[in-house]
Assembly symmetry: C2
Homo-oligomer: 226 residues x 2
DNA sequence: CAGTACTGTGTCCATCGTACGCTAATTAAA
DNA sequence: TTTAATTAGCGTACGATGGACACAGTACTG
């Protein structure tokens, strides 16, 4: 019931010639403006009013093109994901390319980590990304379930890193870091290992570390299966 | 500035004897009721009004104990996380215990996957979980940054699995699955591998698969470092 | 007993998503 | 060419939300 409206927005059908006035708005324009808004001011800044202001139209005009806010966010999400990358090489280099492309794609749109998550209706771009990753795993001895697990593992890693690097919008990331430093200064005796871990300046590449770990583990499973 | 209020809620200071009327409410009661509400009806059902109704008080009474909704959610989060587990054995069995305990802890509170994420002010329980995981990694040759990376990897895996298993609250998970089946039925020609992957009934244990992959990869890095 | 600090409450407000009906524009049918 | 059907954008209105603020009563302190 509600899911139908998501499908309608994400998979538009080509209607014939329409009758009324020429539309001044379009799903594409709305999505582009909403994405820009979310990139600049965070997802919670994407309100119907602000969106309409940015587009120079009335708030209610948006509802002619998008049934509601949820569907709008789904549309933003699939649009911002963009078209999937072309992969080459064996499964390992292919998956590495895939994950790095996803990382590059997510970085300018940190809010994707909140919207491209959980049970949801897939859009064409998202399905394309999934298909590309499964293509890299084709020919390995992994079963269908396990291939999906691997994709979930890699996309989960990208999301986690985006969240870690990104920052909450309500309060600044620097504020949070300050607050946590203050907490550790006050209660650090109870958490010595944590204090020690945060004491060192983080110079390593968390994305690379996690990606290598995952691919190493997947290689072991492929070796098992083969 | 805003982060201060989070610290104040999560790390309460012991004030001396207070003067006014005996409080009928407490942070603990509020948190418990809010957690129950979120477990039953989803995080977005946790509204100040409903929370007050459940507690039998006026909406504004809540603000005497919790400065705002954000801080309330932070409090719910740290409370629902509970106390960290005791680990034994080598790093590998310790981390496995840790991750399985987190998985068991998250399952009754799927909304944790949305709240225990991103830059945020840590509460005592959350720091305790972190300390426990770092304890398991103590003695391995990994550097401080890499230890934090491992913990992020494991907690990210738990979150991803909770989201996958849980379900969106707005629309039923079954609805979403139906919608996606319809989409694949209509546009499946463009995504043959995806169709094939979803065609098989998922009998595997995604949590176990991912956990094993990650631990295998971490073992390789520890071997490198050692 | 006075004063003071604190809890719970009622009222009020800006903002949010969105339902509904009107108007004007455009094309299909007569 | 007229007329009817359909559609885009808009204005108004409504319920729900988070929260500011002032006021009441209550308990401890002097």
């Amino acid at each position: 019931m509600t899911a139908d409206t998501f499908t309608a927005v994400l998979w538009p059908e080509d209607h014939g010639p329409r009758r009324g006035p020429k539309p001044a708005l379009s799903k594409e324009r709305i999505a582009a403006e909403a994405i820009a808004l979310a990139d600049n001011a965070g997802l919670e800044a994407v309100t119907m009013q602000r969106l309409a202001d940015g587009l120079g139209c009335a708030k209610m005009a948006l509802y002619r093109h998008v049934p509601g806010r949820g569907e709008l966010i789904a549309l933003m999400t699939d649009t911002a994901l963009g078209t999937p990358p072309e992969l080459d090489g064996d499964w390992r280099t292919g998956l590495r390319q895939w994950t790095e492309a996803a990382w590059r794609g997510f970085t300018p749109h940190p809010w994707l980590a909140y919207t491209a998550v959980g049970p949801r209706v897939f859009g064409p771009n998202e399905l394309g990304w999934l298909e590309a990753a499964l293509g890299a795993l084709d020919g390995t001895g992994l079963g269908p379930d396990q291939r999906l697990d691997v994709v979930a593992l890699l996309s989960g890693h990208v999301r986690a890193l985006v969240l870690q690097a990104g920052g909450a919008y309500g309060t600044t990331e620097a504020e949070m870091i300050d607050a946590n430093h203050g907490i550790l200064a006050a209660h650090g005796d109870d958490f010595p290992l944590t204090v020690a871990a945060f004491g060192h300046t983080g110079t390593d590449n968390a994305f690379e570390f996690g990606l290598t770990c995952i691919l190493e583990g997947v290689a072991a499973r492929i070796a098992d299966a083969g």
